[in-house]
């Protein structure tokens, strides 16, 4: 992982295009197959062992299709699926962007500046050790239950695990690499953008992955505790009114949102870390 800063030449030598295409296609087929099989298992189980709590998947999907299709932005809550998703994303996306920026800057600073490392690392570990969910009451006490609270909790919950990855990633860069940059008098911004960031990128990505998972969990929970819109609120709202179909549809929607995030991250990683996977395979 540390020998990350080699130039791109190895990519063109090592990664024959044809070899990469084929598994992608069969992988897609496999994914569709597994998803279909899981759906069939759900459907069959729900029909064989009828339960009022777990309806067949087909009914859930059908219900979602008919009851979410309103496109009117002022439609009553729960009928316009895009409005719900938008409400949730308006909390999640700014928080993730903010946490990423703060995490990168602070993380690199802590990794490179020794005094900051000594002073802040214990603080980082302490705040990180507080389970993200236990941070929520603090922020409700501080900021009430509005969007400011939700975004701040998500930022704080997501920031620390991410930042630790950034710190490790930067510290793992070979000292030789750093020394070479000094010898050649690479200027600061080049050093940051072209050596430190790319070198730490594999770790940064695993941090991003962790961060989006935690961010999503915290978003859902804050929406359940205090909100009047968003997908998390919708699921709890449906449960409280015993709308089982709506509830499961909401759960599936949250799963899809989570999958969307990991999918986007995968694409980004494939694009930005091509040199890294080429080296390590």
């Amino acid at each position: 992982m540390s020998s990350a800063t080699t130039t791109k030449t190895s990519v063109s030598l090592q990664g024959p295009r044809t070899a990469r295409r084929r598994p992608a296609a069969s992988g897609l087929l496999l994914k569709a197959g597994v998803l279909l099989a899981a759906g069939i298992v759900w459907e069959a189980a729900a029909r064989l062992f009828p339960s009022i709590f777990v309806p067949p998947l087909s009914k859930v999907l059908q219900h979602a299709w008919t009851s979410w299709s309103s496109l009117d932005p002022n439609a009553t809550f729960g009928t316009n699926v895009f409005a719900m998703i938008l409400a949730s994303f308006s909390r999640l996306v700014p928080a993730i962007v903010l946490a990423t920026l703060i995490g990168l800057v602070l993380g690199v600073a802590i990794a490179r500046i020794r005094i900051l490392d000594h002073l802040l690392t214990p603080v980082v570990h302490f705040i990180r050790a507080i389970p993200s969910t236990a941070k929520i009451p603090i922020f409700i006490a501080l900021l009430g239950i509005g969007d400011a609270m939700k975004i701040s909790v998500i930022v704080v919950a997501a920031l620390f695990p991410f930042m630790l990855n950034v710190i490790h990633g930067v510290k793992d860069i070979h000292d030789t690499t750093v020394d070479v940059c000094k010898v050649y008098r690479i200027n600061r911004s080049d050093f940051f953008l072209r050596v430190l960031l790319p070198g730490a990128l594999p770790q940064i990505f695993s941090g991003l992955r962790l961060m989006t998972m935690i961010a999503l969990i915290v978003m859902v929970l804050t929406e359940m505790i205090g909100a009047s819109d968003g997908v998390g609120y919708y699921v709890l709202y449906a449960e409280r009114r015993f709308l089982v179909l709506d509830m499961w549809a909401g759960v599936l929607l949250l799963g899809a949102m989570g999958y969307l995030f990991s999918f986007v991250l995968n694409l980004l990683e494939l694009r930005l870390l091509r040199w890294h996977t080429a080296q390590n395979s």
Binding site: S2, K31, T121, L221
Partner: protein
């Protein structure tokens, strides 16, 4: 990682550095934490935040001492910890054998990794409402959700640990006539165990997080989460919320440290389990 350490010893006289370090770093750490809380207090005063919203740090510290001595809080801690650990242990018992089977078989590995890819992004807390409907707000529901959330983490790590075993070692054992099960027991598991354990450490953090989250939402399920929410609703005693959250942080740290030293004890042959150091 190892390079950094090597270089450090090469540049500085090792003994001088090693001897000085722990004490100074503890001093720096305390200074950092004190500075952090002072900064929070100062920011609170400067921004004119009320004491209900942001109790001063010394109030929180005094409350924390009282909270630790409070049997009601310790009971809540016990409820949370027992739910989290029960769920974690059950998840390990389920996930490790499953992971070993799927990790050693190439075809099932592909299918299962796809399933994991779809199941992992689902935020566990989304399952609180269905779990509430099906299991009610009790310890069972908490344990069930902890099992679900930690199962995927341990499974994922087990599969990758088993697949990451050096093929050369397995072949060598085969050449010496070790049976398939023997290879599994004497080569694959010992070399995969430390990495599986890393997964367990991550899962332990997740278990505590999920337990507290569930308790906050499902009234009547006890534990730290419910304790925090009850003091949040008692508006005049907000310092208890801060104290409780900080103490649960200390609890998380203790859990992490215990698991790390347990890992060193269980897998002395592995660098991965022996704390990654710096």
């Amino acid at each position: 990682m190892s390079q950094t350490v090597l270089k450090g010893t090469a540049r500085h006289p090792a003994s001088a550095r090693r001897g000085r370090r722990p004490l100074t770093s503890v001093a720096y750490g305390i200074a950092g934490i004190v500075a952090f809380f002072a900064a929070v207090d100062l920011a609170g005063v400067a921004a004119n935040v009320s004491r209900e919203q942001l109790p001063r740090s010394w109030d929180v510290a005094a409350t924390a001492a009282a909270v630790v001595a409070d049997p009601e809080f310790m009971h809540a801690v016990g409820e949370s910890l027992s739910a989290a650990l029960t769920g974690l242990v059950l998840a390990i018992l389920l996930a490790v054998p499953t992971g070993v089977v799927f990790g050693t078989n190439r075809r099932t590995f592909a299918a299962v990794s796809v399933l994991i890819e779809f199941m992992r992004p689902l935020p566990v807390v989304a399952l609180i409402p269905p779990a509430l409907l099906m299991l009610g707000a009790g310890a069972e529901m908490k344990v069930a959700l902890v099992i679900y959330s930690t199962f995927w983490i341990v499974l994922f790590n087990t599969i990758y640990a088993v697949r990451g075993v050096e093929p050369l070692q397995k072949d060598a054992a085969k050449v010496f006539g070790v049976s398939r099960l023997g290879v599994l027991a004497r080569v694959v598991l010992p070399s995969a165990a430390p990495f599986i354990y890393t997964g367990v450490q991550i899962a332990a953090t997740a278990a505590l997080l999920v337990t507290i989250g569930v308790e906050m939402l499902a009234g009547g399920s006890g534990g730290i989460g419910e304790w925090l929410m009850s003091y949040l609703n008692a508006i005049t005693r907000r310092e208890y919320v801060y104290a409780g959250a900080y103490i649960s942080g200390v609890l998380g740290l203790v859990l992490t440290l215990v698991l790390a030293s347990l890992g060193r004890l269980l897998f002395p042959w592995s660098k991965a389990a022996g704390g990654r150091g710096k």
